[in-house]
C-alpha cells in the first residue's frame, strides 16, 4: 500500500476490513479472465474505446517544434477518462455483491460517470457534492438525477470537493456493509490509488501502441494534467519503464506566489488526507488549505500518493500552469484544431506547448486530453466576460 514514503491506509478502524476486502476482491478480479473481458467489453462497446490519438498538426506548425499528439479521452462516453475507472469499480462492486454505490464529486464529472455506470448496472447511487458546487454545477446535478442518482449536497467545511470527499467517507463508514465507494481519482486509502491506476492505465497502454504504430518510436515526452492525478497515472503507467520524459501539469491558479492555487507538488508539504500520506496544501498546524483553480477538476488540496512518490524520485517532473496559461492553451487548441478541451486538460496542453517550442521537429509530445470542454463553457463565458473579451 505504499509508493516509497507515500500512500498507506489512514482511515478509521471501521474501514480497515472493508478496504482489505476490496483489495482482495480486486486482486482476484484482475486475475479473472472473465472480469477482464467484461471490463474491456464495456470500454469498447459502451464507452467507445479505443479512443483515437489525433495529430495536432496546426498547433505543431504554429509552435514550430516537437510534433504534438493528443490522446482523445474527451471522446469517451460521458466526455472524459473518468468513465474508465467508474466502469472498473462498478464491476468490482457487482463482483463483491454490493447493490449500492456512493461517490464524491467536485465539478460533477466523476459523479456523472458513477451515476452512468450505476444506471447501467442497476445500482442505487448517491453522489456527495459540496453545496457550493451543487449551485455552480446545476447542469451536472441534473444530469446525475436524470441518470437516477441521488445528489447529496454537503454543507460542511467549505462545501466543495474536499468536504464532499469527507462526507462520502463518513457515509461509507456508516454503510460499508452494503455500499461500495467508487473513488474518482488515484487518491484515498490503499487500495484505491492502485485500483484507479489499474483501471486508468488503459489510456497509456492504448496511446503507447497507437503512437508507436504511427511514428515507429515512442514519444519524447508525455504530458498530463494532475489534480488527484488519475488520467496522468493512467497515461504515465505505460511509459514508466521507458526512456520517455514524463511531465505532470498542476494548477497554479492565480500563480503559485499567491494564495490562490492548487499546486500541491510545487507548494505542498507531506501530510495525510483522505486516507493517504502525500503532498498537501496545509498550514503549519496541519489544517488543510482550500485550493483554488479555475478548473474544478484540479481544485483538490492533495495529490495521488504515487505522484508524490514519482515527484520525490524525480521520475516525473511536475510543473504548474496558471489559469490564464491554461485558458490560452485551450483557446489555441480550439482555434487551430477545432477541439474544445476541458480546462483541466488545458493545463496539460499549456505545458506541452511550452515544451514543444523548445524541442526539435523530429521530437514529439503525447498529451493526454483527458476530457472535453463542453462542461466548462459556462466558466469560460464568465471568465471572458470578466476580462472584457466577450
Amino acid at each position: 500500500g505504499r509508493y516509497g514514503d507515500f500512500g498507506g491506509r489512514f482511515v478509521p478502524e471501521t474501514l480497515m476490513t472493508p478496504l482489505a476486502e476490496i483489495e482482495q476482491a480486486h486482486k482476484e478480479a484482475m486475475n479473472d479472465p472473465e472480469f477482464i473481458e467484461e471490463y474491456h467489453y464495456l470500454l469498447k462497446e459502451y464507452s467507445g474505446r479505443p479512443t483515437t490519438i489525433t495529430f495536432a498538426g496546426n498547433v505543431t506548425n504554429k509552435l514550430g517544434g516537437a510534433k504534438i499528439y493528443l490522446k482523445r479521452e474527451d471522446l469517451n462516453h460521458t466526455g472524459a477518462h473518468k468513465i474508465n475507472n467508474a466502469i472498473g469499480q462498478v464491476l468490482l462492486a457487482k463482483r463483491m455483491g454490493k447493490t449500492k454505490v456512493i461517490a464524491e464529486t467536485g465539478a460533477g464529472q466523476h459523479g456523472v460517470a458513477t451515476a452512468t455506470v450505476a444506471a447501467k448496472f442497476g445500482m442505487e447511487c448517491k453522489v456527495f457534492m459540496g453545496e457550493e458546487d451543487v449551485r455552480r454545477q446545476e447542469l451536472n446535478v441534473f444530469r446525475m438525477q436524470l441518470l437516477g442518482a441521488e445528489v447529496i449536497p454537503v454543507t460542511s467545511g467549505n462545501k466543495t470537493l474536499k468536504d464532499a470527499t469527507n462526507e462520502a467517507m463518513r457515509y461509507w463508514v456508516q454503510h460499508c456493509s452494503d455500499h461500495f465507494y467508487i473513488i474518482g481519482s488515484v487518491v484515498g486509502p490503499h487500495p484505491y490509488p492502485y485500483i484507479v491506476r489499474e483501471f486508468q492505465r488503459v489510456i497509456g497502454d492504448e496511446a503507447r501502441e497507437q503512437f508507436y504504430n504511427i511514428e515507429g518510436s515512442l514519444p519524447t515526452k508525455v504530458v498530463a494534467c494532475v489534480g488527484g492525478g488519475s488520467n496522468a497515472i493512467g497515461m504515465f503507467a505505460a511509459f514508466l519503464p521507458d526512456e520517455v520524459e514524463l511531465v505532470g501539469a498542476e494548477a497554479a491558479g492565480k500563480g503559485v506566489e499567491t494564495d490562490l492555487h492548487a499546486a500541491t507538488i510545487t507548494k505542498g508539504t507531506r501530510g495525510v488526507l483522505h486516507g493517504s500520506l502525500t503532498y498537501l496544501l496545509q498550514d503549519e498546524y496541519g489544517q488543510i488549505i482550500e485550493p483554488y483553480s479555475i478548473s474544478a477538476g484540479l481544485d483538490y488540496p492533495g495529490i495521488g500518493p504515487e505522484h508524490a512518490h514519482l515527484a520525490s524520485t524525480g521520475r516525473v517532473k511536475y510543473e504548474s500552469v496558471t489559469d490564464q496559461e491554461a485558458l490560452n492553451a485551450l483557446e489555441l487548441l480550439a482555434r487551430e484544431e477545432g477541439i474544445l478541451a476541458a480546462i483541466e486538460s488545458a493545463h496539460a496542453l499549456s505545458t506541452a506547448f511550452s515544451h514543444a517550442k523548445k524541442m526539435n521537429q523530429d521530437e514529439s509530445i503525447l498529451v493526454c486530453l483527458s476530457g472535453r470542454g463542453d462542461k466548462d463553457v459556462h466558466t469560460l463565458m464568465a471568465h471572458y466576460k470578466e476580462v472584457g473579451k466577450a
Binding site: 491506509r9 489512514f10 478502524e13 476490513t17 472493508p18 467545511g157 474536499k162 463518513r170 463508514v173 483522505h274
Partner: protein
Amino acid sequence: MTLFKQSVNSQLFIPFITAGDPHSDVTVDLAIALQDAGASAIELGIPYSDPVADGPVIQKASSRALKNGMNIIEAMKLVPKMRKKGLNIPIILFTYYNPVLQLNQESFFALLRENTIDGLLIPDIPFEESEELRQKCKEQSINFISLVAPTSSSRIKMIAEAAEGFIYCVSSLGVTGVRKNFDESITSFLKEVKSYSSVPVVVGFGVSSREQVELLSNICDGVVVGSALVREIERLQTTLMDKEGRQQAIEDFQQFAKTFVLVNEMK
C-alpha cells in the same frame, strides 16, 4: 503509566470536548466541571479542518474552535491551566493524524510530556500504520488508545491484545454522533473484545443518554460521551462566552454531564 487499573469497579465516564470551543478559557472551566461531575478522564479534541470520523456536531465544534485560532500546540497548553485549577484526572489528546505529522516527533512528545498529557487517541491511524507511534508512546509512558470496530472481525484479537489505557469500542458502524439505539450485535462484539483485552473496554460513538449508559454498564467498563456534551456546549455557547452568565452555564453543563455518571460509581 496506565490510565486506569486493569479492572475497574466503577463505570468509566470519559467525556469529549473540543479544545477552544467556544473559547480556550471556557475549555479549561469545562474540564474542571467534568471532573467535578465525575469524569474518569477527559478526551481533549484538537479541532481539525477535515474530521472524517466525526459527525456534524463535533464538525461544527471543530469549525468554531478553528475560527478562534485554536491549534494542536495551543490545545496542549490548556492542560497545565486545567491542572493549575485542580484537574487531576487523565487527559487524552484526541487528534487526527495530520496535525501530529506536521510536528517533529521529538517535539510532539516533548509537548505531550510538558503539558502533562496522559494518552493519545488518533482516529484515522489504524493499527498497522501506528506501530512506530505506539512504540514511542510506550517509551514516553503515554497511553496510545486503540479503537476497535464491529467490522474489525479478525483484527479484534490483534488490536485488543495490544491495547493500552483502555480500548475504545466503536458502538456501531459509523462516525461520532448522537444515536437512539445500538445494534443488537454489540453484546457479542464487546464480549469478544473483553476476551482479548487486559485494559478496560469502553464504548463510544453515539452514547447520548443515561439509559444507554445503564444498558451498557452490564457489558463494558465505561463509555465515551462526545457529541451529546458538545451539543450542550453549543447550546450554551452564548452564555458561556458571557462573563456574568458563564458560572451558571458551567453549572448547567456539569449537571447535564452528571446524567452520564452512574450513581453507584465508587471512584
